[in-house]
Assembly symmetry: C2
Homo-oligomer: 333 residues x 2
């Protein structure tokens, strides 16, 4: 069906190797020979077969594998964008898959990507054991982790957000506005970022001599509906919180819905910026960060590893920024 170099060679009346030289822009081909070859190439519609190319010479496949939770989620799609930008610069393709936070699927994806001989792996790891990766890493597949670190045993680079610092700055902002009864909404404690952000919340309170009141902390909600219900419960307490810190954008939206529904002016600061946060009835104060930058940085580290650079495992911490919009500045009631 598809013509091969042999076919082109036959058509042009030269040897296979000469075609190879022309196709790869090697030197040492007379212009008129090259001309003949190029004519044959377009006459036959020849396309070099990169699969065969990668096979011979243990060549790189010029591809990297990306495992994220879900591309449809803006956080991950921005990571993917950052990765793609760097990949493009290095003439690499990105082969990606969604784990949907399922460890079995994640493992299957990584295994399949290794079977396809991707030159490197970029992974947002789920809460699971990643030791199965060790043989792959030893076998020479570079890997960089994003957003959550793998276990200690895995010696690989990782790019994280400053979760603790970001959460602390959010809660300190609320304290600065006079709040002392501040609720904390965080995702499932199995998730690294949820634990870290909760830790930032604790640290901020402690630093200001405010005891942590566990009845104001809700760990577990991980969607808008769950956060809305949890917030409604908090607002219905005898002594309700005057402010809420929400650990991610879905939790922020849920909290917002509950606060609006209750007709309160409870202050709110959320982790993660989101589109239209400034256009809502109450514009939302957030701890912003830059997922695309995370993707870029991770991809850059990976490329360096792929080029054989041999540093000790890096741990990059990306900064956050508090964006003040209104919801975080309401005074305590």
């Amino acid at each position: 069906m598809r013509p091969t170099m042999r076919d082109v060679a036959r058509h042009a009346g030269v040897s296979l190797k000469t075609v190879s030289r022309v196709v790869n822009g090697e030197v040492g081909v007379r212009p008129d020979t090259a001309e003949k070859v190029n004519e044959a190439i377009s006459a036959l519609g020849f396309r070099r077969n990169d699969i065969a190319r990668a096979l011979r010479g243990g060549k790189r496949t010029r591809s990297l594998g990306l495992v994220i939770k879900d591309v449809a989620n803006p956080f991950y799609s921005q990571i993917a964008r950052g990765v793609e930008e760097v990949a493009r610069l290095h003439d690499l393709f990105v082969i990606s898959g969604c784990s949907d936070e399922d460890p079995a699927r994640e493992r299957h994806l990584i295994r399949s990507l290794c079977e396809r001989r991707v030159d490197g792996l970029l992974v947002v790891p789920s809460a699971a054991d990643h030791r199965y990766l060790i043989p792959e890493l030893n076998m020479g597949t570079a890997a960089v982790f994003m957003d959550r670190p793998p276990e200690e045993a895995i010696r690989a680079d990782v790019v994280l957000i400053d979760n603790v610092g970001g959460a602390r700055s959010a809660v300190e902002h609320l304290i600065a506005h006079g709040h002392r009864r501040i609720a904390c909404l965080a995702d499932l404690p199995g998730i690294f970022t949820a634990r870290e952000r909760r830790r930032g919340y604790d640290e901020a309170l402690q630093a200001h001599g405010i005891p942590v009141d566990e009845s104001l902390v809700r760990l577990g909600p991980h969607d808008v509906a769950g956060a809305e219900a949890a917030t409604a419960e908090l607002l219905a307490l005898g002594d309700p919180p005057t402010a809420v810190f929400a650990g991610n954008n879905r939790l922020t939206i849920g909290a917002l819905r509950a606060i609006q529904a209750a007709g309160r002016t409870t202050a709110l600061v959320g982790f993660d910026d989101f589109e239209l946060a400034d256009m809502l009835a109450t514009p939302v104060t957030v701890v912003a960060h830059y997922p695309a930058e995370m993707g870029r940085r991770a991809a850059e580290l990976l490329c360096r590893r792929m080029d054989g650079e041999d540093l000790p495992p890096q741990r990059v911490l990306l900064p956050t920024r508090l964006i003040v919009r209104g919801s975080g500045e309401s005074p305590p009631i």
Copy 2:
């Protein structure tokens, strides 16, 4: 570095072919032989090389190429998600790239994907000439287009949204609420969806005997700022529109900003749903559609083509749905 089947065979004291049989779950291997082979596999950390596998026998690479404008844009990332869901069911990998609406980059991407011998191609085409694809298609690479059709000469399946019908329903909704001076904001006329939506606007007015007033039509703005400026201009007219139809989500946001800034209650219906549309100060009435479904349908069509099904080119039209939320129901002033 990485062990091959030969190495495994040597280690297990069997022939290469026996290893191949075990690795591929073929029948006709004694359990104890299989056992030995499996031990050698884990001892050496062997991973079958899918590159070599695809080469032999003109085998499929079990991958498909996806070319979209930008993964970071929720519209495209949802398409990507739909594609990935179907790919997963068929045990296919997705190799994707962003064209950023640059025809040269799009062409480069498609070419490279063909060189990697993807089994099929899923493309959101930019406004450009796609005839260079014809040889690839003839050479057996299946292709399905999404969101915008390629030129007539390309005989391939395409999955579209009902742009005309959706726009018409939006404008008829405004007419039903008593509006007659309805503005139209649409993207660059080079873009298929922009033209089609503008056509739906015209059709709705004509169907109700309302003459099209070109001074109320703004073609060209393609970001929030541009739409905001265009809308501000419209509102400043001596005889301003009482309602606005915005041709996509960025234009809707821009219009909304301008209307809020002017302190008006101008009615607004937008094409494309977006997150938090219901949480804004004025919840936004929209023409919703389902990008993930577009990705799924396109991927399904592609898989059927890849399986050799030979129907005439299909043209799938996905329905839209008007979601009433408030902004589209204000009466004329």
